[in-house]
Amino acid sequence: MTLYLDANATEPLRPEARAAVLAALDLAGNPSSVHAAGRAARRVLEAARDQVAARFGAGAGEVVFTSGGTEANALAIRALAAGRRVLAGATEHPAVLAAAPGATLLPVLSDGTLDLDALEAMLAGPPALVCLMAANNETGVIHPLAEAAALCRAQGALLHVDAVQAAGRGAVSLAALGADSLAISGHKLGGPKGAGAVLLRPGLELAPLIAGGGQERGRRGGTEALPAIAGLGAAAAAADPAQAARLAALRDAIEAGCLAQGARVAGQAAPRLPNTSNLILPGAAAETQVIALDLAGVQVSAGAACSSGKVGRSHVLAAMGQAEGGIRVSLPWNAPDDAPERFLAAWSAMQNRLSRRAAGGAN
């Protein structure tokens, strides 16, 4: 029996999302068609839009569906960056950093949270677009977004929030944050892969990356991926931040066990997502740990893996001043209650073998 603890890569599909996807697969109509079949498809599309808007604090007219989180970030950033300099957090996801290649990086403190003093200093000057993640994908560290948003407002800067990891795992609201745009991804919520969305502050315009047939009010061309979007809507409705306490208890049990055996937790003192832990085992390569745990049936990740599967050095831990790589344990919404004991059994066996080997034993 394998133990899946890589939710930040992708969440397992929620049953509500699965049902919505299956129902949408059988709808023949194109949401843009005028006939009854088209209207039926359109109803499903707009219901999903309502679900997303309601869950994340936007008006339904301000939800633009995309192919996923990467496109959502790219669409918002490319549009809002027009005529502005871009400031992006040093620990942002590659999807954000690649969408703003000329961005100036905002430093983080050693606990991984945004350095607000630096933000304030760097906001002085020409109009800026600030790109910040609500929570980090590798460490789960949550940025002080309310404070950052206030600083942005005071300086006339726009704020784009990458909420891909935070959505569904904590309270995320465009309106409450006072942000200008927000990106989410369906499969990080327990929906299928292939759908995401940009949520916009009312009145903000968005130039499309793909113009096409004028779908999404001209902000994202192309026939909507209805099954994936229906699944995204259902997952957004089903993702219950009240689950957080259960996941946090499991995560804390895992951390307590590892800390007692010599591990460190990156960003331990910072506010973090309830499901995420980045465990650093001094002297042990993250890559080796991920493989060893996988061979023991426990699925975690290290740093950011490129499409070839190779593990690179984590720019997130580097920005936090951590020289060593960590393994990311991220509990899915359906993590079993015995996850800590099963994880710790595999982790301890690995830790024992590695420390025996480091002490000079051959095996």
């Binding site: 493989i291 060893a292 061979l295 490129c306 070839s308 599967g309 190779k310 080997r357 095996n363």
Partner: protein, 365 residues
């Protein structure tokens, strides 16, 4: 048992993985990402992983075994590519496949395998590991055409003990391809890899010049008496024994070959072929796979990859940590290449040849 298999994506290591799976072992596949393929081939949009990594993954998927891509770019760069360029800059002839085997492959993968609780590391090399009275022995492969024992001399006795070379007994490559065919491996007909993996276009001198610009600085071509015969466009383009690309014109005289490379004075020393050969050689960075001989021992040695072992006597200078070789017949000794010592099929050890004939550059030397 649990075995780590180094899978390159080629037919040989794919067959190794498949055979071990067939024998019922718990096989774990690993493929080394050694350099950025896209940058090396300078193809826009090429992935950092080349086709070989995708092939390895596909084979592993077909076999139903776990497979991992290991990022060893910086390690490979430091241990193999930089050493490759530095060796040219010293006026010597590098042998990167041995450096790679010595570091990235056997040292690091044996460590990883043990970290993962594996009981052995298997590779697709053509060599035989024989269980001897004194522990594991390294022997030439059954197929003399494919034998790679020369490239494995630097494997330590501890590493050799842990390694397995399942292809060592294969009579020839056709049989290996037939096994791949029988096991339904998609790579059965894939061509053999050629040349140096990190120089896909085969023009290594541009790479060397980029890493060590001094190897592309012009200098003099001189004969053994020190007389200047011409100019060269950088010592990085020459290796000892080379007869082409000297640009000395046809002429009626005897054909000339590179006899020595004096990196300090950026000089290429040329001589007639007969004058190149020597009977004494010294090798450092020695690795013995048997207990070192206490007195000069009659053996056979190979001074380059494509050469049959030839008769010699080898002595171990423990104080200087070098092996001293006296060849039965004179041969060209290119510093930087490996001198591998055999007793029949068995590899006794080896080292890297040292420059000892630099003083023959005449004149001021």
């Amino acid at each position: 048992m649990r075995i780590l298999v180094a899978m390159s994506g080629g037919v040989d290591s794919s067959v190794v993985a498949a055979l071990l799976v067939e024998q019922g072992h718990e096989v774990v596949g690993a493929t080394l990402q050694l350099y950025d393929h896209g940058a090396a081939t300078q193809k826009k949009g090429a992935c950092c992983a080349g086709q070989d990594i995708h092939d390895a993954r596909r084979v592993a998927e077909g076999l139903g075994i776990p497979h991992y891509v290991l990022d060893r770019e910086s390690r490979f760069r430091a241990a193999v590519i930089d050493d490759f360029a530095a060796t040219y800059a010293r006026g010597e002839t590098p042998i990167p496949c041995i450096r790679c085997n010595q570091t990235v492959k056997f040292q690091d993968l044996v460590e990883l395998a043990r970290d993962l609780g594996c009981e052995a590391l298997a590779t697709g090399h053509y060599a035989r590991r024989v269980e001897g009275a004194e522990g594991a022995e390294l022997h030439r492969a059954a197929d003399p055409v494919r034998d790679q024992s020369y490239f494995l001399f630097a494997t330590t006795r501890d590493q050799l003990d842990f390694c397995r070379f399942p292809l060592g007994d294969m009579p020839d490559k056709a049989v290996v391809r037939a096994v791949a065919e029988r096991l339904g491996l998609a790579v059965a007909a894939k061509p053999d890899s050629q040349d140096i993996c990190f120089v896909p276009e085969g023009s290594y001198d541009r790479l060397v010049a980029r890493l060590r610009p001094e190897t592309a600085e012009p200098g003099e071509i001189v004969d053994l008496s020190g007389q200047v015969l011409g100019q060269h466009q950088g010592i990085g383009r020459y290796t000892v024994g080379q007869g082409r690309g000297l640009g000395l014109g046809g002429g009626a005289g005897e054909r000339l070959f590179v006899s020595a490379i004096d990196s300090t004075r950026r000089r290429i020393v040329v001589a007639p072929r007969a004058a190149l050969a020597q009977t004494e050689a010294v090798a450092g960075e020695v690795n013995w796979l048997v207990d070192p001989p206490v007195s000069p021992r009659p053996v056979q040695v190979k001074l380059r990859g494509r050469e049959a072992p030839r008769g010699a006597r080898v002595a171990w200078d423990a104080a200087a940590q070098v092996m001293r070789v006296t060849l039965d017949e004179p041969n060209i000794v290119a510093a930087g290449q490996a001198c591998v010592v055999y007793d029949g099929d068995q590899v006794l050890g080896g080292g890297f040849l040292r420059a000892v004939n630099i003083d023959r550059s005449g004149a001021a030397a």
